[in-house]
Amino acid sequence: AQRVTQPEKLLSVFKGAPVELKCNYSYSGSPELFWYVQYSRQRLQLLLRHISRESIKGFTADLNKGETSFHLKKPFAQEEDSAMYYCALRHSNQGGKLIFGQGTELSVKP
């Protein structure tokens, strides 16, 4: 079965520290991986997708098929990065439905 696992419910770091939000997936095939973010009192929005291979707001994520991981990283966290982060998977042959992880709350302290 397809599954996305985010092992940390809460990650707390100080401003300027590096951040890594972990995401592992189980899937047999070629998935498409995403990170979505939800800032306080805002709607869920796309942060980045692995096929774009781009950096958004200083965040990057590399798909590692050997380790079935898609960890989100940022070298220097900012207070405005505090939010809920969800990793998601989409099966190329099952329409557009997304399978989400449980989410990690990132708290960046001053």
Binding site: Y86, G95, G96, L98, I99, G103
Partner: protein, 114 residues
């Protein structure tokens, strides 16, 4: 332009009642998705429309849940005989056309079943 809108923003109902949740997608978006997010969990897929037809309803938990999109724009999620376990935030998302397009989410409807 306007994003995805959902009404009502909050709905409180009693166990056993019928509820309807509405989603207005971004104009011109042909794909529409419903997800359910329980407390402390990530969104869980319910149903996907391409135009007027349900292309994938594999996430609907049981036959008390039903969704329609009669004119290929607005969609309504209908829940019969609500149960306390149905309490959650119901999210709607739309995308331009292809399944590879980015999904844009609405603010959600918070349903509370007493």
């Amino acid at each position: 332009g306007a994003g995805v809108s959902q009404t009502p923003s909050n709905k409180v109902t009693e166990k056993g009642k019928y509820v309807e949740l509405r989603c207005d997608p971004i104009s011109g978006h042909t794909a529409l998705y419903w997800y359910r997010q329980s407390l402390g969990q990530g969104p869980e897929f319910l149903i996907y429309f391409q135009g007027t037809g349900a292309a994938d309803d594999s996430g609907l938990p049981n036959d008390r849940f039903f969704a329609v999109r009669p004119e290929g724009s607005v969609s309504t999620l209908k829940i019969q005989r609500t149960e306390r376990g149905d309490s959650a935030v119901y999210l709607c998302a739309s995308s331009p056309s292809d399944v590879t397009d980015t999904q844009y989410f609405g603010p959600g409807t918070r349903l509370t079943v007493l």
